[in-house]
């Protein structure tokens, strides 16, 4: 995760939320989607995250990257949602919707089927493995940043990364995936 030095505590609450929306809004929203895999829910959770960031701005100490802090709030909110009974009810409903999407997706032209398959497989991994893959390969986080964002030790991140790769290989019917 690279970038220019960020203004942190100097920002007012309103400036901070504007800054976060402008700079990290897209990344945060896409990350939320990888957890909940539903656009409407992504919209709702994103709003909740913004409100939480706005309310908690005073608690931001500036000792971590602003993006990491905001992402941590988003990820925690996603996990809360996934644990909620509401999610389980929605899941049943969404499964029907997804079938329709799959059918239409079949008709679409896919430029790179191989990478699409891997991306799909990653999005179908269990949350704890999915998040390390997404944060690594989609958000370019280091393992230390993932540890900071998800609140687990670095050793656990490493273990999960290895396990995620194993699961991914299984999902790809044993085909080797080269990691750089």
């Amino acid at each position: 995760m690279t970038g220019n030095p960020e203004p942190h505590k100097e920002l007012t609450r309103d400036q901070a939320i504007e800054y976060i929306m402008n700079h990290y809004g897209e990344a945060i929203k896409r990350t939320i989607y990888t957890y909940v895999k539903n656009f409407h829910t992504t919209d709702d959770i994103f709003q909740e995250v913004l409100i939480q960031i706005y309310r908690k701005w005073d608690q931001f100490q500036g000792d971590s990257q602003l993006k990491t802090w905001a992402m941590r709030i988003a990820i925690n909110r996603c996990k809360d949602y996934l644990r909620s009974p509401l999610h389980r009810i929605k899941l049943v409903k969404d499964q029907w919707v997804d079938k329709g999407d799959e059918q239409s997706a079949e008709k679409a032209v896919i430029e790179d089927e191989h990478w699409g398959e891997i991306a799909q497989a990653i999005l179908n991994l269990p949350v704890k493995y999915r998040e390390v893959m997404i944060l690594t390969y989609h958000q370019n986080y280091t393992q230390h940043e993932i540890a900071e964002t998800t609140g687990v030790p670095v050793s656990t991140v490493k273990t999960r990364m290895q396990r995620a790769r194993d699961l991914l290989k299984e999902k790809m019917d044993g085909r080797e995936i080269s990691y750089e």
């Binding site: 939320i17 897209e26 709003q47 699409g116 390969y137 989609h138 656990t156 273990t159």
Partner: protein, 492 residues
């Protein structure tokens, strides 16, 4: 993996159009504006409803207290056990170091066998009254007590106004455990006790001074040693009646029982049962029981005497696993150098290649794997005088519990515990949520609670669960969906 291509592929899966648009901004600012405007009503109504609900509950409670509750029975029992005695009945105790487990709560009754539970979580040892059994027993005894009270009413000369009804004494009497093995004796005992009470009025026996009793109790506590021979025990406690009798779970054992002293001398209580009144009236200063093992060496012991307050009895138990309980509260470990239950000490000893008696606190961090097994009936709940012992087991990565329960809050203290296997013991899955380091869990035991294993999803590092899929119909598939391997037998 090519990050750029994969990132693009993931983005394509999510959607190529930007997810974050000005609509999101607008929605946020609208919400913010609304929140600002309606903050007063937003917070006021829930608070008002809560306040009204609180008032309703308070006024309802006041009504029930002020008026006669419709739930109260008109035919209230004439006698109720005093609160402190009721607590004693239940055998409950609170110990900051020893966290209470539902599996076992030591009572203040004399012990002649291990703290055990049967497979249903109830203590099978009749000599140690389990709580639930206590409740049942108390109910049956209460009926008997009421009958006894009724007799007292019809025969007023047997009681006096100042005396406590004896019915509850037999309930609280630690020694009644043995005697209550024969059902229906408590009523006879009560009438015996009443007779004693009558005698005491006429004879006015000399009350044993508390200091003298306490000195004897201290003497016993210091002299008691596990493994004492009969002759050593007789030398320490007295040479009275030592006889062989059947002890639950142990078969025929030598038992030295019920020595009392009313003056300076020990004497054997011929009547068998002891009531609180007998202590209060000065007939008995102290009673004790010793149980010997098959080699006629002291296995466990207990003694009872009237506490300093003059109203309650103090019961000191030397349990067979080395724990000393005072009024049901675990105080110390007398048999081993480390304050764990015997089975745990033996397991550590085996792991460390030492004799159990030689295991010290320094050995804890050397233990890599532990197999704690209970050979008696029922389940053993492992006790520890210090919960910190678990924190000090830094090298322990795998533990097998066979017919043994270690409370999950204690397991969670083991810093690097990765593998947990439970055999023929209770596995309370809801309590496992703090076992963060666990990677492998084998719960092929008939006593898994609850059947729904979804509680295990909270364990971030869990990779493999071994369970009986037939037994656990409760959504074990959820584990697989979350990337946890579910097996029916341990991997090779």
């Amino acid at each position: 993996m090519n990050n750029t291509k994969l990132k693009k592929a993931i983005d394509k899966e999510i959607g190529e159009k930007p997810l974050f648009t000005d609509k999101d901004k607008e929605r946020f600012y609208n919400q913010k504006k609304m929140a600002g405007r309606s903050s007063w009503t937003h917070y006021f109504w829930p608070k008002l409803v809560t306040a009204l609900l609180f008032l309703g509950v308070m006024s309802g409670g006041f009504y029930f207290v002020a008026e006669e509750s419709p739930f109260e029975s008109v035919t209230k029992p004439i006698t109720d056990a005093p609160e402190s005695e009721s607590k004693e009945d239940l055998g409950s105790y609170e110990d900051p170091d020893l966290e209470k487990t539902p599996e076992e709560e030591p009572d203040s009754t004399p012990d002649t066998a291990d703290e055990q539970e049967d497979e249903n979580g109830q203590e099978s040892d009749e000599q140690e009254q389990p709580n639930r059994d206590d409740n049942q027993q108390n109910e049956s005894e209460r009926e008997t007590d009421n009958e006894s009270d009724a007799e007292s009413e019809s025969e007023p000369e047997l009681g006096s106004d100042s005396e406590q009804p004896d019915g509850n004494d037999s309930t609280n009497d630690p020694s009644s455990n043995d005697n209550n093995q024969n059902e229906g004796t408590s009523q006879d005992n009560n009438s015996n006790n009443n007779d004693n009470g009558q005698d005491s009025e006429s004879e006015e026996p000399e009350r044993v001074p508390f200091e003298q009793v306490q000195a004897k109790a201290d003497d016993i506590q210091s002299q008691f040693q596990y493994g004492m021979t009969i002759s050593q025990a007789k030398q320490a406690f007295g040479s009275g009646n030592y006889s062989r009798r059947n002890v639950v779970d142990l078969g025929e054992r030598m038992v030295g029982e019920y020595y009392h002293f009313a003056t300076d001398d020990l004497s054997f209580n011929e009547e068998g049962d002891i009531s609180l009144d007998q202590f209060k009236q000065g007939h008995i200063g102290l009673s004790f029981t010793l149980t010997f093992d098959s080699n006629d060496r002291v296995r466990s012991g207990s003694y009872t005497y009237l506490a300093e307050d003059g109203e309650t009895r103090r019961a000191v138990n030397f349990k067979s696993d080395g724990f000393v309980y005072v009024d049901g509260q675990a105080q110390s470990q007398k048999k081993y150098q480390i304050g764990f239950s015997g089975a745990m000490v033996e397991a550590i000893a085996q792991s460390a290649g030492k004799e159990p008696q030689n295991v010290t606190r320094q050995d804890l961090n050397q233990v890599g794997q532990l197999a704690v097994s209970h050979s008696g009936s029922g389940m053993l709940s492992v006790k520890a005088t210090k919960a910190d012992y678990y924190n000090e087991m830094t090298g322990l990565s795998a533990i097998t519990l066979e017919r043994t329960v270690i409370p999950a809050e204690h397991l969670a203290r083991i810093p690097n515990l990765e593998r947990l296997t439970i055999r023929d013991a209770r596995a309370d899955l809801n309590s496992f949520s703090n076992l963060d380091t666990l990677r492998y869990l084998d719960i092929r035991t008939p006593y898994v609670q609850p059947e729904n294993v979804s509680a295990l999803l909270e364990l971030d590092n869990l990779e493999t669960v071994v369970l009986d899929k037939q037994e656990l119909s409760g959504e074990w598939q959820q584990l697989e969906e979350n990337g946890i391997d579910v097996l029916e037998s341990p991997p090779e």
